[in-house]
Subunit: 325 residues, 6 copies
Amino acid sequence: MYKRLLDYNDGEELEAVVLIKNSQLRHTKKGKLYLAMTFGDASGEIHGNFWDANNQDAATFSAGTIVELDGQREEYQGQPQIKIYGLRVVGPEEGYDLKQFIKSAPEKISDLKEEINQYVFEILNPTWNRLVRFLLKKWDQRFFDYPAGKSNHHAVRGGLVYHTVSMLRDAKGLANNYPQVDRSLLYAGCILHDMGKVLELTGPAATQYTTEGNLIGHLVLIDEQIMLAAQELKIDAESEDLLLLRHMVLAHHGKFEYGSPKLPALLEAELLHRIDDLDASIYAITNALQHTRPGDFTDNIMSQGGRKFYRPKVDEALSSSRKLE
Amino acid sequence: MYKRLLDYNDGEELEAVVLIKNSQLRHTKKGKLYLAMTFGDASGEIHGNFWDANNQDAATFSAGTIVELDGQREEYQGQPQIKIYGLRVVGPEEGYDLKQFIKSAPEKISDLKEEINQYVFEILNPTWNRLVRFLLKKWDQRFFDYPAGKSNHHAVRGGLVYHTVSMLRDAKGLANNYPQVDRSLLYAGCILHDMGKVLELTGPAATQYTTEGNLIGHLVLIDEQIMLAAQELKIDAESEDLLLLRHMVLAHHGKFEYGSPKLPALLEAELLHRIDDLDASIYAITNALQHTRPGDFTDNIMSQGGRKFYRPKVDEALSSSRKLE
Amino acid sequence: MYKRLLDYNDGEELEAVVLIKNSQLRHTKKGKLYLAMTFGDASGEIHGNFWDANNQDAATFSAGTIVELDGQREEYQGQPQIKIYGLRVVGPEEGYDLKQFIKSAPEKISDLKEEINQYVFEILNPTWNRLVRFLLKKWDQRFFDYPAGKSNHHAVRGGLVYHTVSMLRDAKGLANNYPQVDRSLLYAGCILHDMGKVLELTGPAATQYTTEGNLIGHLVLIDEQIMLAAQELKIDAESEDLLLLRHMVLAHHGKFEYGSPKLPALLEAELLHRIDDLDASIYAITNALQHTRPGDFTDNIMSQGGRKFYRPKVDEALSSSRKLE
Amino acid sequence: MYKRLLDYNDGEELEAVVLIKNSQLRHTKKGKLYLAMTFGDASGEIHGNFWDANNQDAATFSAGTIVELDGQREEYQGQPQIKIYGLRVVGPEEGYDLKQFIKSAPEKISDLKEEINQYVFEILNPTWNRLVRFLLKKWDQRFFDYPAGKSNHHAVRGGLVYHTVSMLRDAKGLANNYPQVDRSLLYAGCILHDMGKVLELTGPAATQYTTEGNLIGHLVLIDEQIMLAAQELKIDAESEDLLLLRHMVLAHHGKFEYGSPKLPALLEAELLHRIDDLDASIYAITNALQHTRPGDFTDNIMSQGGRKFYRPKVDEALSSSRKLE
Amino acid sequence: MYKRLLDYNDGEELEAVVLIKNSQLRHTKKGKLYLAMTFGDASGEIHGNFWDANNQDAATFSAGTIVELDGQREEYQGQPQIKIYGLRVVGPEEGYDLKQFIKSAPEKISDLKEEINQYVFEILNPTWNRLVRFLLKKWDQRFFDYPAGKSNHHAVRGGLVYHTVSMLRDAKGLANNYPQVDRSLLYAGCILHDMGKVLELTGPAATQYTTEGNLIGHLVLIDEQIMLAAQELKIDAESEDLLLLRHMVLAHHGKFEYGSPKLPALLEAELLHRIDDLDASIYAITNALQHTRPGDFTDNIMSQGGRKFYRPKVDEALSSSRKLE
Amino acid sequence: MYKRLLDYNDGEELEAVVLIKNSQLRHTKKGKLYLAMTFGDASGEIHGNFWDANNQDAATFSAGTIVELDGQREEYQGQPQIKIYGLRVVGPEEGYDLKQFIKSAPEKISDLKEEINQYVFEILNPTWNRLVRFLLKKWDQRFFDYPAGKSNHHAVRGGLVYHTVSMLRDAKGLANNYPQVDRSLLYAGCILHDMGKVLELTGPAATQYTTEGNLIGHLVLIDEQIMLAAQELKIDAESEDLLLLRHMVLAHHGKFEYGSPKLPALLEAELLHRIDDLDASIYAITNALQHTRPGDFTDNIMSQGGRKFYRPKVDEALSSSRKLE
């Protein structure tokens, strides 16, 4: 068995099967082409340049491809990189599986799927229930596999459904305290709010934004999906139920500058936005704290306005909690 | 023939057929209900309260209804109002037409329609051409009748198409100077960009926002229409042409805070946004200047960041130009 | 028995025992002094001017005083006011109680107090537990009587403890989903975070800001209280536990512009801020929706960035929920 | 003939006549002086450090000087640089011309000059006509030679006049659609708006800001020029025409944060600002797209708020348009 | 002798010689013209409408005119106004003087002039000294008569020179503590910084902005004056001294949004900006506190970001200080 | 005697006694630990990595420790660093003193202390006088030794008291011009405003923020100290004098975003904020100008909004002033 990518020492030659996480064709100032690449496996990531590349190489060695990497580990100022001798695409017949190379959510996908289904039962309004079931079925394969993002939070395989379920759990607790909240609408909103990411992102491995993701965005993408589904399900286009659900997904970023074309104007839309934001923040902060020693501050967490968080010297709750990434 | 609404003097009793421009059921502090109303005809608008109203009255005397108004003109601090004696809904058999009560765009609708069709011929890309024709046909009646807004600019009957044509004229001139611009995409974008207003607004008379308009907004409303049209026209949902056109309409407000879920990321989307903004500003400024004497400043123009504009003492161009409102 | 303040008709003379909610000595342009007053009872509030006032009158008829009001109801443009004939301070021997004139939180104070005590049991850390008990005891009378604010949210008698308990309920649900959270710290933070309002506000009736409230603010006021308590309880001034709790209260507004001198830098501080904000928002939105008819939008809610919220035509959850104010 | 600067390979020794684009005297941490230099010719630019420099060297080898460069090309992480062996100032007698080393606008200067003159004919107001002619003559040599900026847009030889003419073309088309616009004032504004750059910048080669440019800025610099010209031409200092033209140039950046001391308060000033901004944006976006492959996004364009623009897979208009830089 | 304007009681008829502080021709909704006027004398100001006015009336009864006012005092909601019976322009032969009707700075103008001259002696640099003397002489009459603003601060006769001298006193103290400051440049900057107000404002009585003030602003107006003066005095246009002084006045508002086309980039320019801002703030705050009782807060002071300031119960320093307005 | 740290040449081996200014334990990507260190003495600072470190090393070689450093100077791209051979902690018996390794304020501490005492005499209000004396005594050792910051301004030994005295000098001059200012309150505010830095920072050598500094901040830290002192001195907790002084320190940053929980609401609080800001700016600008040649601009000064300042070609005042750092 090969050693893992980060197990090699400085100067050591390596031959490893790895995933291309990122690959960009660039020009040197001199005008020559090369590929700026990032390789990864379960041990982490490492950078390397593939010199004298051409367009064909860029297509062959694109992000998401599993390759055999031959090279030598170099180090500069504490930053390791790979001097690449050669790359070879690993064929499906060689029995490697993408899942070996990427991190996964900390709960089992099958359990999360089961839990989602329980919440669907509690969506009593037929319009919302039918739309949710329709779209869960349509995007089933991707929804339970994709991450919730490229880097900020839940950027792991299954991260999308894990984030969704965590929000549903929050939603349930809050709905208990605030009986004025329409539970069906809130649950439907939780399940669909980020489902547009199955069109916005390329998938769980070497995640990138699609062109559609860049030009339309997951809020409008899922809104469009709801409209198309309604047409297929012959739900009245003028139905207020349909309107409310569309507003839920379109407003869930809560601020114009985060791409919501409308601000929350329903009690449930406001709550959905806050639960979404809260779950993402807790994930990001917890993840950063888990990589920090007690008594220290984390690095600046960009998704939290660049704030540093403090890990107290005594922190039993955090210490005994499940590791996120 | 009745005198017009603003032709009455202070203290004079009146009996006039007018349009209800606005009507809101309110509580006095004492808890009694009344309707705060605005009446209008071609001479302008005037306010009045209908006391001791009930829900039935609110439904009967809603915005957009033509009524016979009996009352007396009062004046306080230079602000006239109507003391209402009675209101009676005018039936269709009495031969009044909404158009008598509202202002219209300064060019003939039939000419503008003709001009739009000329531009449609120049949309060479078949996907965009088909979608534009489909939607022009679907919303024909409203598109050539609606205003472009409730108050800021082009808030007149036919204002939507007048604004659209004015933008197309600008687009043509600019495309001549910048041959790198895809003229077909730009024209298609101009024609569709505000078409969602046929769903966002209630119509040319006593214009209000619809609930759909408030919760979804005209950018996403037209995007949804494009998607549904594409499905009917069997245009490939993955088509880049479809994607580009959706981006055009979604990004045309140019800034997040104006409700664009994405910022312009196509040269043509940037241009569309700028032409839209420019045409609206020129309209608003010109309209304000036309109500100002040479040598004076306008009032604060809210849509232009509250700026006041100066009308020069000598201003032949403005003086000889067509009056907007 | 007297009629209630808002039961009088326009033009009717009145003689009512009411609470002075607001009273400000002002100059007319002519230089004469008068008191601009607001009177209230359980039926609502109404304005009136007390002409030719002097400093003595201002002291006698200050906010929070119960008076007998003789006058006549006038109305202008739908806004009622009282033409004041005379005012007389009602003495304690006449048996009126402030509580008759102000609204109260929708749950019983004794129940809320009981519930708080349950949460105190779950604060396992001895430093936090002792400080919370000490301060609950020190401010007992005010803490269970004061509102949580002057107008925005929970501006009712007992609003402070009602808001606190509602947050604790949210905290419990969220802590169940996020085991990495230190539950003791979060609960202690919830209980103390707004306790400084017992110094910032004047009390449940005719609530005003104190000078201390204006110059120091409730965040720093409770921080100072914690420090003084720690000194009395001989808790080490260098203790990290003490430090963490101080940070919790100082950072709970979450943003500099809301008066937090530090941004949340503990996972629990971030959560406290979000729960606080969420509970206040849900209260304000629900309260506004409860005063709006189904199918309509609320007025602009200032505390929610001026947004209007929509009350759906079908809204069983809201319709069947307890009325807040 | 020498090879061009970017034609050398890594490790190759070179001897080339080049232009110093930038040259800054710096201290190493050790306190030694060196010149951080950028060299350029028509093939592009490359960096190099001249070690152990002194003040004399800094004066001799300043930006804008043509030198013979002897050295060796090195490369680090894909970034080439020159290890400098020696530098020698090339004298005028050696027959080199600055124009060989810098890029030029994509249209012929003589044509642009001719076109400007046509527009001057259309400035009918004598005050504006005389001032424009006077200043065109005074700054003739620089105006038709300078770039419009240091880096953002039109940063090429002749860029200033190219930008000016392009704006005049836009202005003509828009004035046709909006007859209320004073064409003379708009044209005069277009021609003068950026003329202050002949004082703000050092020239077309190795463009830097002058001290005057940094401390006063081109808006006020041209305003001062207009005032001095008016004094020489004996134009009444109180003339409204003079006032309007000064406002045009002072307000043309359109926002305070871009250095306009006043916001546009004339219809023509608003239009001038928008045309200026539009022409600059189209230039910057087009230039970036021309360096991007179809189906890709550009890099972040800083002058456009850091946005990335998408180049569609099919883009005939762009592909067939003239290359800007 | 006439009673003063604010000495009349409600309902009393009056005949008073007063100054027109403001006069605007407006339309009633009915389309009739009237003048909305403000009258003033040393006792204060009062509003009144002159009905059925025409353009001739507007010209005759413009702001700054002394008139005999016949009418009756009315009062509504504590706001007095004048019901105008008639107006008559008071001729110069009747012996009234504008100064009787407006407030003045709290120090003697002749003393302030003397003090300025002392500071001019300390401007050792000949370029700055000559320019300051030239401009002080050119605008002598206005500079020692004008206010420093229309309303915010120093809006009294002589306010401009009073503000200037107060700043010079601050400048002297600070320059003593910071010897690195060029005292000559700072003093010259203080004296000239607001001198453009002699062109921006109409004068000490019924102060309005001139068109020049609105379209150019006092920063650029004084910069232009410096340039024209330099031309007359044959000061080299390229002189660095001239450049520094221009920068001082152009940057003195310190922020783009306050109309500075450049931010301070000289130590002395930074200091000038801060002294200007500080003196204006202290004036505005002091003035507000002097109209507030000990133990109370002022109203919101708009020029200070809407803050309210507290007047302590014991405040000997303030109580014993000179009244500003 | 050892050579000083920056006296070594590239490649030269060195053996020097230096201060550890910064020391952070980091992971290489490979997962190995190392210390990223900065060493300093009076000649300046230099960076170096201590490879294969462990937690013990991190504790031994922490910031603020004096060590003997053995290694070799390397240079890369003009940036020197130390290749570390070994480190040895220097014991107190070897006679080194921290003061040899750090820069000090440009005036003698004993003189500054004397000057502060003069100002204390002028604090006539007994509450403020007692509190100031108490806290000056309590923190005597640190207050006269600490810097005023980590990097922005007055980041030198004694910088805190130097900044304080400089502000008092400014305060005195301004109070002379504005007799309405309560001199006692202003002086007390100046002396205490930054005293919380003795708890916020670690000390004059290798200055870092303490955890308390990060979580509470020096504004609230000194407020707490005032409260505790008042308790010890038996000053009435309700005293208005106590309240005013607390407000002075809490509001002195002047803006919410700089961590003031309240904005200045006293004339003296406004003045304190401005003097603080002004003194810090002048220090930062002067320091930058002293490192710039006449005729050049400074680098971007981050604390001044990133502005660059110009050093005039003739600048006698600056040239002859005392060097700050």
